[in-house]
Amino acid sequence: MQPEPRPACLPCVWMQMTPDPLCDRLATDVDEAFPELVVANQDLVFGVALRVVRDEHAAEDVAQEAFVRAYRALKRYPNQQVRELRLRPWLARIALNAARNELRGRRSHVDIDEAAATLAEPGDSPLRLAERSDERRTWARLLAGLPDRYRLAVALRYIDDLSYPELAETLGRPLGTVKSDVHRGTALLRAAYDAEQRALGGAQEAAS
Protein backbone atom coordinates (compact mmCIF):
# COMPACT_ATOMS: atom_id res chain seq x y z
CA MET A 1 0.00 0.00 0.00
CA GLN A 2 1.20 3.48 -0.85
CA PRO A 3 1.97 5.54 2.23
CA GLU A 4 -0.08 8.69 2.48
CA PRO A 5 2.01 11.80 1.70
CA ARG A 6 2.69 13.47 4.95
CA PRO A 7 0.63 16.66 5.29
CA ALA A 8 2.65 19.83 5.72
CA CYS A 9 2.81 21.09 9.27
CA LEU A 10 0.09 23.72 9.38
CA PRO A 11 1.66 26.08 11.90
CA CYS A 12 4.86 26.09 9.83
CA VAL A 13 3.03 26.91 6.67
CA TRP A 14 1.05 29.56 8.46
CA MET A 15 4.14 31.13 9.99
CA GLN A 16 5.90 31.31 6.67
CA MET A 17 2.98 32.72 4.79
CA THR A 18 1.52 35.30 7.09
CA PRO A 19 3.35 38.59 6.69
CA ASP A 20 3.76 40.48 9.93
CA PRO A 21 2.61 44.11 9.53
CA LEU A 22 5.20 45.14 12.13
CA CYS A 23 7.94 43.71 9.89
CA ASP A 24 6.78 45.89 7.04
CA ARG A 25 6.92 48.95 9.25
CA LEU A 26 10.36 47.98 10.56
CA ALA A 27 11.56 47.61 6.98
CA THR A 28 10.23 51.07 6.11
CA ASP A 29 11.44 52.89 9.22
CA VAL A 30 13.16 51.02 12.04
CA ASP A 31 13.03 53.94 14.45
CA GLU A 32 9.32 54.44 14.00
CA ALA A 33 8.36 50.81 14.67
CA PHE A 34 11.10 49.69 17.06
CA PRO A 35 9.47 50.97 20.28
CA GLU A 36 6.41 48.89 19.46
CA LEU A 37 8.56 45.83 18.87
CA VAL A 38 10.12 46.25 22.31
CA VAL A 39 6.85 46.74 24.13
CA ALA A 40 5.20 43.78 22.39
CA ASN A 41 8.10 41.38 23.00
CA GLN A 42 9.74 42.45 26.23
CA ASP A 43 8.13 39.72 28.32
CA LEU A 44 9.32 37.09 25.85
CA VAL A 45 12.88 38.42 25.64
CA PHE A 46 13.14 38.90 29.38
CA GLY A 47 11.64 35.44 29.95
CA VAL A 48 14.09 33.70 27.65
CA ALA A 49 16.98 35.52 29.32
CA LEU A 50 15.67 34.55 32.75
CA ARG A 51 15.41 30.86 31.76
CA VAL A 52 19.13 30.82 31.01
CA VAL A 53 20.80 33.20 33.47
CA ARG A 54 18.29 32.50 36.30
CA ASP A 55 18.78 35.86 37.93
CA GLU A 56 16.42 38.77 37.50
CA HIS A 57 18.98 41.53 37.40
CA ALA A 58 21.23 39.69 35.02
CA ALA A 59 18.20 38.80 32.89
CA GLU A 60 17.23 42.46 32.66
CA ASP A 61 20.72 43.36 31.45
CA VAL A 62 20.66 40.51 28.97
CA ALA A 63 17.23 41.56 27.69
CA GLN A 64 18.49 45.12 27.17
CA GLU A 65 21.53 43.83 25.35
CA ALA A 66 19.38 41.57 23.18
CA PHE A 67 17.15 44.45 22.10
CA VAL A 68 20.15 46.65 21.35
CA ARG A 69 21.58 43.87 19.17
CA ALA A 70 18.23 43.44 17.46
CA TYR A 71 18.07 47.16 16.77
CA ARG A 72 21.54 47.20 15.22
CA ALA A 73 20.70 44.16 13.12
CA LEU A 74 17.48 45.75 11.88
CA LYS A 75 19.44 48.83 10.87
CA ARG A 76 21.92 46.66 8.99
CA TYR A 77 19.69 44.10 7.30
CA PRO A 78 18.41 44.70 3.78
CA ASN A 79 14.72 45.64 3.68
CA GLN A 80 13.62 42.34 2.16
CA GLN A 81 15.26 40.39 4.96
CA VAL A 82 13.51 42.48 7.61
CA ARG A 83 10.16 41.92 5.87
CA GLU A 84 10.62 38.16 6.05
CA LEU A 85 11.68 38.00 9.70
CA ARG A 86 9.65 35.96 12.13
CA LEU A 87 10.05 38.36 14.98
CA ARG A 88 9.29 36.16 18.00
CA PRO A 89 11.76 33.34 17.30
CA TRP A 90 14.29 35.81 15.93
CA LEU A 91 14.21 37.85 19.14
CA ALA A 92 14.11 34.74 21.32
CA ARG A 93 17.21 33.46 19.61
CA ILE A 94 19.07 36.74 20.07
CA ALA A 95 18.09 36.70 23.75
CA LEU A 96 19.24 33.11 24.08
CA ASN A 97 22.64 33.89 22.57
CA ALA A 98 23.06 37.02 24.67
CA ALA A 99 22.17 35.06 27.80
CA ARG A 100 24.63 32.28 26.98
CA ASN A 101 27.33 34.89 26.41
CA GLU A 102 26.53 36.38 29.77
CA LEU A 103 26.83 32.97 31.45
CA ARG A 104 30.13 32.31 29.74
CA GLY A 105 31.38 35.51 31.37
CA ARG A 106 30.77 34.36 34.93
CA ARG A 107 29.99 30.73 35.80
CA SER A 108 28.75 31.08 39.31
CA HIS A 109 25.74 28.91 39.68
CA VAL A 110 23.20 30.36 41.99
CA ASP A 111 19.81 28.81 41.98
CA ILE A 112 17.52 31.73 41.71
CA ASP A 113 14.48 29.89 40.45
CA GLU A 114 13.69 29.53 44.12
CA ALA A 115 13.83 33.27 44.67
CA ALA A 116 11.85 33.99 41.52
CA ALA A 117 9.24 31.50 42.63
CA THR A 118 8.35 33.49 45.73
CA LEU A 119 7.47 36.67 43.83
CA ALA A 120 4.08 38.07 44.65
CA GLU A 121 1.37 38.94 42.17
CA PRO A 122 -0.58 42.08 42.95
CA GLY A 123 -3.93 41.46 44.59
CA ASP A 124 -3.08 38.21 46.27
CA SER A 125 -4.34 37.72 49.80
CA PRO A 126 -1.71 36.56 52.29
CA LEU A 127 -3.12 33.04 52.33
CA ARG A 128 -3.42 32.88 48.56
CA LEU A 129 0.07 34.32 48.32
CA ALA A 130 1.46 31.62 50.56
CA GLU A 131 -0.22 28.92 48.48
CA ARG A 132 0.87 30.45 45.25
CA SER A 133 4.45 30.94 46.27
CA ASP A 134 4.40 27.37 47.50
CA GLU A 135 3.12 26.14 44.15
CA ARG A 136 5.53 28.30 42.21
CA ARG A 137 8.39 27.03 44.31
CA THR A 138 7.35 23.45 43.68
CA TRP A 139 7.19 23.92 39.93
CA ALA A 140 10.45 25.86 39.84
CA ARG A 141 12.17 23.11 41.82
CA LEU A 142 10.77 20.33 39.63
CA LEU A 143 11.80 22.20 36.49
CA ALA A 144 15.27 22.85 37.84
CA GLY A 145 15.65 19.11 38.35
CA LEU A 146 15.38 18.36 34.63
CA PRO A 147 18.45 17.78 32.46
CA ASP A 148 19.45 21.05 30.74
CA ARG A 149 18.33 20.08 27.28
CA TYR A 150 14.80 19.19 28.34
CA ARG A 151 14.54 21.96 30.90
CA LEU A 152 15.11 24.75 28.40
CA ALA A 153 12.78 23.25 25.78
CA VAL A 154 9.98 22.68 28.29
CA ALA A 155 10.40 26.12 29.87
CA LEU A 156 10.39 27.96 26.55
CA ARG A 157 7.35 25.99 25.42
CA TYR A 158 5.19 26.32 28.53
CA ILE A 159 6.46 29.38 30.39
CA ASP A 160 7.41 31.58 27.48
CA ASP A 161 4.68 30.17 25.29
CA LEU A 162 6.70 29.60 22.14
CA SER A 163 4.95 27.38 19.58
CA TYR A 164 6.81 24.30 18.34
CA PRO A 165 7.87 25.93 15.05
CA GLU A 166 9.01 29.02 16.95
CA LEU A 167 10.87 26.83 19.41
CA ALA A 168 12.61 24.93 16.61
CA GLU A 169 13.75 28.19 15.07
CA THR A 170 14.83 29.65 18.40
CA LEU A 171 16.94 26.64 19.34
CA GLY A 172 18.13 26.01 15.80
CA ARG A 173 17.01 22.38 15.91
CA PRO A 174 14.62 20.38 13.73
CA LEU A 175 10.95 20.53 14.61
CA GLY A 176 10.82 16.82 15.44
CA THR A 177 13.74 17.11 17.83
CA VAL A 178 12.27 19.95 19.83
CA LYS A 179 8.89 18.24 19.98
CA SER A 180 10.45 15.10 21.36
CA ASP A 181 12.58 17.11 23.80
CA VAL A 182 9.49 18.86 25.10
CA HIS A 183 7.55 15.60 25.36
CA ARG A 184 10.31 13.78 27.16
CA GLY A 185 10.85 16.71 29.46
CA THR A 186 7.14 16.89 30.16
CA ALA A 187 7.02 13.17 30.94
CA LEU A 188 9.97 13.47 33.32
CA LEU A 189 8.36 16.45 34.97
CA ARG A 190 5.08 14.58 35.35
CA ALA A 191 6.87 11.62 36.88
CA ALA A 192 8.71 13.85 39.32
CA TYR A 193 5.47 15.62 40.20
CA ASP A 194 3.62 12.35 40.82
CA ALA A 195 6.47 11.01 42.92
CA GLU A 196 6.38 14.12 45.03
CA GLN A 197 2.59 13.97 45.47
CA ARG A 198 2.86 10.34 46.53
CA ALA A 199 5.59 11.17 48.99
CA LEU A 200 3.53 14.09 50.34
CA GLY A 201 0.42 11.89 50.58
CA GLY A 202 2.43 9.23 52.37
CA ALA A 203 3.79 11.73 54.80
CA GLN A 204 0.31 13.06 55.55
CA GLU A 205 -1.06 9.58 56.16
CA ALA A 206 1.83 8.78 58.42
CA ALA A 207 1.21 11.95 60.37
CA SER A 208 -2.51 11.29 60.93
Binding site: D29, D31, G47, Q64, Y71, R132, W139, Y158, I159
Partner: protein, 274 residues
Amino acid sequence: MKTSDDRLIATGLAKLRQSAPAGLADAVMERVGLAGDEYVNVDGPISPLFVAYGQRGISLVERADRSEAGDFEEAFRATFGRSVRRVERAPELVQRIIDARIWGRAGSQPKMRFELDQLPDFERQVLLKVLEIPRGEVRPYAWVAAELGRPLAVRAVGNAVARNPIPFVIPCHRVVRSDGRIGNYGAGGPTAKRAVLASEGVDVNTLETLPNRGVRFIGSDTTHIFCYPSCRNARRVTDAHRVPLRSSYEARGAGYRACKVCRPVDPPFRAVVA
Protein backbone atom coordinates in the same frame (compact mmCIF):
# COMPACT_ATOMS: atom_id res chain seq x y z
CA MET B 1 -2.60 10.32 29.17
CA LYS B 2 -0.33 12.48 27.12
CA THR B 3 -2.77 15.37 26.91
CA SER B 4 -3.42 15.29 30.65
CA ASP B 5 0.36 15.47 31.15
CA ASP B 6 0.48 18.51 28.96
CA ARG B 7 -2.44 20.20 30.68
CA LEU B 8 -1.08 19.73 34.19
CA ILE B 9 2.42 20.80 33.24
CA ALA B 10 1.20 23.75 31.19
CA THR B 11 -0.91 25.19 34.00
CA GLY B 12 1.78 24.46 36.57
CA LEU B 13 4.60 26.06 34.62
CA ALA B 14 2.43 29.00 33.57
CA LYS B 15 2.60 30.06 37.21
CA LEU B 16 6.28 30.79 36.68
CA ARG B 17 5.54 33.46 34.09
CA GLN B 18 6.91 36.82 35.00
CA SER B 19 6.55 40.19 33.30
CA ALA B 20 9.56 42.15 32.17
CA PRO B 21 10.69 44.77 34.71
CA ALA B 22 9.01 48.16 34.29
CA GLY B 23 12.09 50.12 33.18
CA LEU B 24 13.23 47.71 30.48
CA ALA B 25 11.67 49.36 27.43
CA ASP B 26 12.84 52.83 28.48
CA ALA B 27 16.36 51.61 29.11
CA VAL B 28 16.45 50.02 25.65
CA MET B 29 15.18 53.19 23.97
CA GLU B 30 17.82 55.18 25.74
CA ARG B 31 20.58 52.80 24.71
CA VAL B 32 19.64 52.80 21.03
CA GLY B 33 19.22 56.57 21.02
CA LEU B 34 15.47 56.71 20.47
CA ALA B 35 14.71 58.46 23.73
CA GLY B 36 13.87 61.71 22.03
CA ASP B 37 16.12 64.21 20.27
CA GLU B 38 15.73 67.92 20.83
CA TYR B 39 17.22 71.09 19.46
CA VAL B 40 17.61 74.64 20.63
CA ASN B 41 18.39 77.96 19.06
CA VAL B 42 21.39 79.54 20.79
CA ASP B 43 23.77 82.43 20.13
CA GLY B 44 26.93 81.58 18.26
CA PRO B 45 30.12 83.49 17.50
CA ILE B 46 28.97 84.92 14.15
CA SER B 47 25.27 84.00 14.04
CA PRO B 48 22.61 82.17 16.01
CA LEU B 49 22.88 78.38 15.85
CA PHE B 50 20.60 75.37 15.88
CA VAL B 51 22.08 72.75 18.19
CA ALA B 52 20.56 69.25 18.28
CA TYR B 53 21.31 66.71 20.99
CA GLY B 54 20.02 63.39 22.23
CA GLN B 55 20.94 60.64 24.62
CA ARG B 56 24.28 60.15 22.92
CA GLY B 57 25.28 63.78 23.06
CA ILE B 58 25.35 66.69 20.65
CA SER B 59 24.54 65.47 17.16
CA LEU B 60 24.05 68.31 14.67
CA VAL B 61 24.77 72.06 14.50
CA GLU B 62 23.83 74.53 11.78
CA ARG B 63 23.77 78.29 11.46
CA ALA B 64 20.25 79.46 12.23
CA ASP B 65 20.54 82.54 10.01
CA ARG B 66 21.11 80.49 6.89
CA SER B 67 18.45 77.81 7.28
CA GLU B 68 14.90 77.63 8.53
CA ALA B 69 13.95 75.48 11.50
CA GLY B 70 12.11 73.19 9.07
CA ASP B 71 15.25 72.71 6.96
CA PHE B 72 17.23 71.86 10.06
CA GLU B 73 14.66 69.29 11.16
CA GLU B 74 14.74 67.83 7.66
CA ALA B 75 18.55 67.68 7.68
CA PHE B 76 18.44 65.94 11.06
CA ARG B 77 16.00 63.36 9.78
CA ALA B 78 18.10 62.79 6.67
CA THR B 79 21.22 62.23 8.75
CA PHE B 80 19.91 60.15 11.63
CA GLY B 81 16.59 58.82 10.40
CA ARG B 82 14.84 60.15 13.50
CA SER B 83 12.81 63.21 14.19
CA VAL B 84 13.87 66.07 16.41
CA ARG B 85 11.74 68.55 18.29
CA ARG B 86 12.42 72.12 19.22
CA VAL B 87 12.68 73.17 22.86
CA GLU B 88 13.19 76.60 24.39
CA ARG B 89 16.10 75.89 26.67
CA ALA B 90 18.88 73.34 26.47
CA PRO B 91 19.45 71.06 29.47
CA GLU B 92 22.20 72.31 31.72
CA LEU B 93 24.79 69.81 30.60
CA VAL B 94 24.32 70.74 26.94
CA GLN B 95 24.38 74.44 27.78
CA ARG B 96 27.64 73.98 29.66
CA ILE B 97 29.21 72.20 26.69
CA ILE B 98 28.09 75.06 24.42
CA ASP B 99 29.47 77.63 26.86
CA ALA B 100 32.79 75.87 27.13
CA ARG B 101 33.27 75.00 23.47
CA ILE B 102 31.79 78.01 21.69
CA TRP B 103 32.43 80.75 24.22
CA GLY B 104 35.48 79.37 25.95
CA ARG B 105 33.90 79.95 29.31
CA ALA B 106 35.81 78.20 32.02
CA GLY B 107 34.02 76.21 34.65
CA SER B 108 33.83 72.59 35.46
CA GLN B 109 34.70 71.02 32.12
CA PRO B 110 31.69 68.83 31.36
CA LYS B 111 32.32 65.43 29.84
CA MET B 112 31.53 65.99 26.21
CA ARG B 113 29.61 63.52 24.21
CA PHE B 114 28.89 63.64 20.51
CA GLU B 115 26.85 61.41 18.30
CA LEU B 116 29.25 60.63 15.48
CA ASP B 117 28.36 56.95 14.97
CA GLN B 118 26.97 57.65 11.53
CA LEU B 119 30.40 58.68 10.23
CA PRO B 120 33.13 56.41 8.86
CA ASP B 121 35.88 55.60 11.38
CA PHE B 122 38.47 57.89 9.89
CA GLU B 123 36.16 60.91 9.79
CA ARG B 124 35.22 60.32 13.42
CA GLN B 125 38.89 60.13 14.42
CA VAL B 126 39.60 63.36 12.55
CA LEU B 127 36.82 65.20 14.36
CA LEU B 128 37.89 63.92 17.77
CA LYS B 129 41.43 65.08 17.00
CA VAL B 130 40.18 68.51 15.89
CA LEU B 131 38.48 68.77 19.25
CA GLU B 132 41.96 68.92 20.85
CA ILE B 133 42.95 72.14 19.09
CA PRO B 134 42.79 74.84 21.77
CA ARG B 135 40.67 77.92 21.43
CA GLY B 136 42.56 80.81 19.82
CA GLU B 137 44.97 78.50 17.98
CA VAL B 138 45.01 76.87 14.55
CA ARG B 139 46.60 73.71 13.13
CA PRO B 140 47.14 72.63 9.53
CA TYR B 141 45.27 69.75 7.91
CA ALA B 142 48.67 68.04 7.66
CA TRP B 143 49.00 68.18 11.44
CA VAL B 144 45.71 66.30 11.93
CA ALA B 145 46.82 63.71 9.37
CA ALA B 146 50.20 63.25 11.05
CA GLU B 147 48.65 63.02 14.52
CA LEU B 148 46.39 60.20 13.32
CA GLY B 149 49.42 58.33 11.98
CA ARG B 150 48.42 58.90 8.36
CA PRO B 151 50.65 61.81 7.30
CA LEU B 152 49.70 61.50 3.63
CA ALA B 153 45.95 61.62 4.22
CA VAL B 154 45.84 65.42 4.17
CA ARG B 155 43.13 65.56 1.54
CA ALA B 156 41.02 62.99 3.41
CA VAL B 157 41.33 65.12 6.55
CA GLY B 158 40.12 68.10 4.52
CA ASN B 159 37.08 66.18 3.36
CA ALA B 160 36.28 64.92 6.85
CA VAL B 161 36.55 68.39 8.33
CA ALA B 162 34.39 69.81 5.56
CA ARG B 163 31.65 67.35 6.48
CA ASN B 164 31.78 68.14 10.20
CA PRO B 165 28.16 67.75 11.35
CA ILE B 166 28.87 69.71 14.54
CA PRO B 167 30.66 72.92 13.43
CA PHE B 168 31.56 75.57 16.04
CA VAL B 169 31.35 72.99 18.82
CA ILE B 170 33.88 70.72 17.13
CA PRO B 171 36.18 73.53 16.00
CA CYS B 172 36.79 72.72 12.34
CA HIS B 173 37.37 76.43 11.82
CA ARG B 174 40.69 75.96 13.64
CA VAL B 175 42.03 73.73 10.89
CA VAL B 176 43.84 75.72 8.19
CA ARG B 177 46.05 75.09 5.19
CA SER B 178 49.70 74.25 5.69
CA ASP B 179 50.73 77.30 3.68
CA GLY B 180 49.02 79.39 6.32
CA ARG B 181 46.06 80.39 4.22
CA ILE B 182 42.87 80.11 6.13
CA GLY B 183 41.25 77.68 3.68
CA ASN B 184 37.62 77.06 2.97
CA TYR B 185 34.80 76.70 5.44
CA GLY B 186 31.51 74.88 5.19
CA ALA B 187 29.58 77.22 7.46
CA GLY B 188 29.93 80.36 5.36
CA GLY B 189 33.22 80.33 3.43
CA PRO B 190 36.60 81.89 4.27
CA THR B 191 35.04 85.16 5.45
CA ALA B 192 33.01 83.39 8.08
CA LYS B 193 36.00 81.27 9.09
CA ARG B 194 38.09 84.41 9.56
CA ALA B 195 35.35 85.98 11.65
CA VAL B 196 35.01 82.93 13.91
CA LEU B 197 38.76 82.79 14.45
CA ALA B 198 38.94 86.53 15.10
CA SER B 199 36.18 86.15 17.68
CA GLU B 200 38.43 83.69 19.47
CA GLY B 201 41.31 86.15 19.48
CA VAL B 202 43.32 84.64 16.63
CA ASP B 203 45.39 87.25 14.78
CA VAL B 204 44.29 86.01 11.38
CA ASN B 205 46.11 88.65 9.31
CA THR B 206 49.50 87.91 10.80
CA LEU B 207 48.94 84.18 10.46
CA GLU B 208 48.15 84.66 6.80
CA THR B 209 51.10 86.92 6.03
CA LEU B 210 53.78 84.74 7.66
CA PRO B 211 53.74 82.09 4.90
CA ASN B 212 54.30 84.78 2.27
CA ARG B 213 57.74 85.16 3.77
CA GLY B 214 58.14 81.37 3.83
CA VAL B 215 57.69 81.19 7.60
CA ARG B 216 55.95 78.08 8.94
CA PHE B 217 57.22 77.88 12.49
CA ILE B 218 58.34 80.21 15.21
CA GLY B 219 61.31 79.28 17.37
CA SER B 220 62.68 80.77 20.53
CA ASP B 221 66.43 81.28 20.62
CA THR B 222 66.43 80.92 24.40
CA THR B 223 64.64 77.59 24.71
CA HIS B 224 65.51 76.29 21.21
CA ILE B 225 61.99 74.99 20.79
CA PHE B 226 59.91 75.59 17.66
CA CYS B 227 56.12 75.81 17.44
CA TYR B 228 53.26 76.59 15.13
CA PRO B 229 52.89 80.38 15.15
CA SER B 230 49.54 80.29 16.97
CA CYS B 231 50.70 77.88 19.69
CA ARG B 232 50.43 79.46 23.08
CA ASN B 233 54.15 78.76 23.62
CA ALA B 234 55.07 80.64 20.43
CA ARG B 235 52.88 83.61 21.30
CA ARG B 236 54.63 84.24 24.57
CA VAL B 237 58.10 84.44 23.00
CA THR B 238 59.20 88.10 23.09
CA ASP B 239 60.03 89.77 19.79
CA ALA B 240 63.74 89.88 20.58
CA HIS B 241 63.88 86.10 20.78
CA ARG B 242 61.47 85.11 18.02
CA VAL B 243 63.15 83.18 15.22
CA PRO B 244 61.16 82.57 12.04
CA LEU B 245 61.74 79.09 10.61
CA ARG B 246 60.89 77.65 7.20
CA SER B 247 60.74 73.96 7.97
CA SER B 248 61.43 71.44 10.66
CA TYR B 249 64.63 70.55 8.78
CA GLU B 250 65.90 74.06 9.07
CA ALA B 251 64.80 74.15 12.70
CA ARG B 252 66.46 70.88 13.63
CA GLY B 253 69.57 71.86 11.72
CA ALA B 254 69.77 74.97 13.87
CA GLY B 255 69.49 72.86 17.02
CA TYR B 256 65.78 73.35 17.73
CA ARG B 257 63.38 70.67 18.88
CA ALA B 258 59.63 70.49 18.28
CA CYS B 259 57.23 71.88 20.91
CA LYS B 260 55.58 69.07 22.84
CA VAL B 261 52.32 70.98 23.07
CA CYS B 262 51.64 71.78 19.40
CA ARG B 263 53.83 69.01 17.92
CA PRO B 264 54.60 70.84 14.64
CA VAL B 265 55.11 68.83 11.44
CA ASP B 266 56.02 69.68 7.85
CA PRO B 267 53.35 69.13 5.25
CA PRO B 268 54.10 65.73 3.68
CA PHE B 269 54.77 66.78 0.09
CA ARG B 270 57.23 69.38 1.17
CA ALA B 271 59.03 66.82 3.27
CA VAL B 272 59.36 64.50 0.29
CA VAL B 273 60.89 67.26 -1.83
CA ALA B 274 63.26 68.39 0.90
